[in-house]
Amino acid sequence: MNFAVIRRRWRRIRLEGGRSRLTPANWSTVIMLVLLAAIFVLHIACIIILLTATIDNAWWIFTAGNMPTDIWARWIFVNNSWHSVDFPQTYPQSYLQAVQASSVLACIFSIIGIFVFVAQLFTLAKGQRFLISGVFQFFACLCIMIAASIYTDQFHTDEKSLGSYGHCFILAWIAFALTFLSSVIYFVLRKKTAE
């Protein structure tokens, strides 16, 4: 992005009089900036959703006692305060750790992706695509999909009447959709300078 050109454009718009005139020549700059901001905000939203889904322990909520659980600890409300307890031995240990690992990896890939996107914004030649940022977002999408799928298939399968899926589970699947959308946008987007 040629920021010098954009700056000159905006200065020209301001100097043109009391009301800024958005001519067709300036229109493309505005659209590009809005698009850039939207893509950036989408990526940040993906990161926030992924972090919430990973860190907050509420993939499943038992209705008895309103007890949220998974994927790091279980919370019980005893004596007017919350306490974290370990999982029962019946939890499949290896699958639990696989879910933990893939959700953490999804967060890591997405966070690295935002920095790579900003770097590519300044270093990419004109007309090229944001491939590496797209690849990082795609890996984040893959990892959170793995985590959510394993969780859906292996956990609480015979406890469906005892509780319901919590907000972290829903956020994980939303993060899958958003990261996929984000990676597709990066694969399709071409870098243009402001003409």
């Binding site: 240990q93 290896s94 750790q97 696989a98 690992a101 893939s102 953490v104 990896l105």
Partner: protein, 213 residues
């Protein structure tokens, strides 16, 4: 001045042990073992006093779910007395070295009923004020996977592969630019090779090949 310092340090050395006479006992926190195996429960202590000859070690055992603790081992007066009536008869052995402040015991041929808490209490007269320390024994039929091992392994391997790929990519690019390999990856490969003698390229001026030409 120097004598004053020496005298104060000697006085402090004399005062400090008087005040902090508590003995500190160290055991493990939790031990895992398989059924039928042997396990060594370690116990040692820290004391400001020299190890006296009247040092005593005693181990007590409280099974899981029970409130009473029974005494299973006692070392005093230079002799070790092991359990000969309780749940550990013929399975307990003293493998410690009291002179080196080690009061460890060896439990042989573990059973599932040996799950419980083992408490070690050591006394080093005149240093007798201290808190006994406990170690929890968990006996399994199959050793479970420790929490976090698989998680850490997956994350480490994936990130390691990522770093490796990036390093290899940049290494290959560096080596191709230095003309160590003559790699023609594009369809302009032949033209590139022909023109390589005259091209400046990203090569430092002190390149020996250029000097030869």
């Amino acid at each position: 001045m120097l004598t004053f310092l020496a005298l104060t340090s000697v006085a402090l050395l004399g005062i400090v042990p008087e005040q902090s006479q508590a003995i500190v006992i160290y055991t493990g926190w939790e031990r895992h073992a398989l059924v039928g195996s042997d396990i060594r429960l370690s116990c040692s202590f820290f004391s400001w006093r020299w190890t006296s000859e009247d040092v005593t070690f005693s181990w007590t055992y409280r099974p899981d779910g029970s409130r009473d603790a029974i005494s299973i081992f006692h070392y005093t007066g230079g002799a070790a007395y092991v359990d000969n009536k309780g749940p550990f008869r013929d399975r307990l052995e003293f493998v410690g070295n009291p002179g080196r402040r080690d009061g460890s015991i060896l439990l042989k041929n573990l059973e599932l009923s040996d799950n419980g808490t083992f408490t070690c209490d050591a006394k080093n007269p005149p240093d007798i004020v201290g808190r006994p320390s406990s170690v929890r024994l968990l006996v399994f039929e199959k050793v479970p996977i420790q929490a976090g091992v698989i998680t850490g392994a997956i994350i480490g391997v994936v990130l390691g592969l990522l770093v490796l790929i990036v390093v290899i990519y940049y290494l290959m690019r560096f080596l191709v630019a230095r003309r160590v390999f003559s790699l023609s990856v594009s369809k302009h490969g032949k033209k590139k090779k022909e023109g390589s003698q005259q091209r400046q390229g990203p090569v430092p001026p002190a390149d020996p090949s250029k000097i030869k030409v």
